[in-house]
């Protein structure tokens, strides 16, 4: 049981490490692609202008996302020797079309493959060959065989089917998808469910070139801290003095799309706050689909709003989502009796 627990912790830490190092590639990738389109039109990739260069740099950054994620997943599990087989596994996933899921599985497998190669006993005179020859070479061969011949086909199928099903959603099913997506983004405010929903949006943007999920993602991630800030401004007596000191933080966090700023409030009163956030985010995400909004950036909050197809409508939907969250909070939360609660905001 203890071993299982440690295994779970290792995997979780590995996935978060991969995501953590990947994030810095997501932002320039998404924004440069959007800028390329903005300056060069929709056929920018046939061009030779500066806009076309911006576009191609963005593409390169995007294509490195899965390899970097896989590389650092393997690094987290197997330390430095994991990086090369991990990145190669991610590159295979990228080129075969198994995408994020393929990259995650590939990175984890590459990590454990390297760990097992490390354990092989070899004569001490050959020890120095381990990191420079044996691990990179055999690690790559093993992970290559697994990725290409074993998991490649089913995972690629899964990835492309999922993308096409999601991109072809329309009407009512799209709204339901939005409700689920928004609720997932709000429920753990930056935790694993939030990241899973984020990945779906990123995946659809990169493999399906569909930026509607990303717009919904923005709104549902920004409305929790925004809604809390609005609730605090409207209804002072439902928050402690200490909580209200965080109002500035919440506004900045909301504008910058850092859902995590909502956490202290959710922690101090989870059963009222979390459902409120989920309702606001779910409705916001659904409205984003209903209004056919897209936003061609993977992160950046209100600072990248000009990359939305309809910035004004987009701001309106964000305002509605935030107001719903605020309204729910004011409705559900009781008045606080001062000096009773001492929660750090």
């Amino acid at each position: 049981m203890d071993n299982l627990k440690i295994f779970g912790r290792d995997i979780k830490q590995a996935l978060l490490t991969g995501v953590s190092y990947m994030l810095a590639f997501v932002v320039p990738g998404g924004i440069l692609i959007a800028l390329g389109f903005a300056f060069g039109g929709i056929y920018v990739y046939e061009d030779t202008s500066f806009a076309a260069s911006l576009f191609s740099w963005g593409k390169i950054a995007f294509s490195l996302m899965v390899p970097i994620m896989a590389g650092y997943i393997a690094f987290s599990l197997a330390d430095r020797p994991g990086i090369a087989p991990g990145i190669i596994a991610g590159m295979i996933a990228e080129s075969q079309g198994s995408g994020f899921i393929g990259g995650m599985i590939g990175g984890i497998l590459a990590g454990y493959i390297v760990l097992s190669i490390k354990k092989v006993k070899i004569p001490s005179v050959l020890q120095s060959l381990m990191p420079v020859l044996i691990i990179p070479l055999f690690g790559t061969i093993f992970i290559g065989v697994i990725m290409t011949y074993i998991i490649g086909v089913p995972v690629t199928w899964l990835n492309t089917t999922m993308t096409s099903v999601l991109t072809n959603l329309s009407g009512g099913s799209l709204i339901i998808f939005g409700l689920i997506q928004g609720a997932m983004l709000a429920i753990d405010m930056g935790g694993p469910l939030n990241k899973a929903a984020y990945f779906v949006a990123i995946g659809m943007a990169t493999s399906g070139n569909d930026w509607a999920p990303m717009s919904a993602n923005f709104i549902a991630s920004m409305s929790p801290p925004m809604g809390i800030a609005i609730a605090m401004l409207i209804s002072k007596n439902k928050f402690t003095t200490l909580e209200r000191k965080g109002v500035g933080n919440c506004i900045v966090g909301g504008l910058a799309m850092i859902t995590e700023f909502a956490i202290p409030y959710a922690v101090s009163d989870p059963f009222r706050v979390i459902p409120s956030l989920m309702v606001g985010s779910a409705i916001g995400a659904a409205l984003s689909y209903a209004a056919n909004l897209t936003l061609q950036a993977p992160h950046g909050g209100v600072f990248v709003i000009l990359l939305a197809n309809k910035p004004i409508v987009w701001l309106g939907v964000l305002a509605i989502a935030s107001l719903i969250t605020a309204g729910m909070l004011i409705l559900l939360k009781p008045k606080v009796v001062e000096n009773e609660i001492e929660i750090e905001a």
């Binding site: 995501v19 994030l23 930056g190 202290p264």
Partner: protein, 109 residues
């Protein structure tokens, strides 16, 4: 009770929110207990407030509040028995957990 020397490392996936919030929480709880603390943050900007060899040698208690794999972990190889692991969101939620989890290590001092 003596003043404890605590050191800690915090990290999180985005490296901009939980890393700093848990570092704050750790500092506050240590201050409240009258103990010394130095927190190294491994966030999106890399390592901030680097823990030196001397910091690590002198420490009575080491807290790893990390979601992301710790960089330069080999610094801690010789002091493994003093390390406790707590996820950063738990530290933020309930900082006292640090002292509860540390009991075993602290009684052996």
């Amino acid at each position: 009770m003596n003043i404890l020397k605590i050191i800690a490392i915090t990290s999180c996936a985005t490296g901009i929110a939980h890393s700093y919030m848990s570092a704050e929480a750790l500092k506050k709880i240590a201050q409240k207990n009258g103990d010394q603390i130095k927190v190294e943050i491994q966030g999106a900007m890399g390592i901030e407030n680097f823990l030196t060899v001397k910091d690590i040698e002198d420490a009575d208690l080491i807290v790893f509040a990390n979601d992301v794999r710790i960089s330069k972990e080999e610094r801690f190889n010789s002091v493994n028995s003093k390390i406790i692991h707590i996820p950063p969101h738990e530290v933020i939620k309930r900082p006292e957990i640090v002292y509860e989890k540390a009991k075993e290590i602290l009684t052996n001092l």
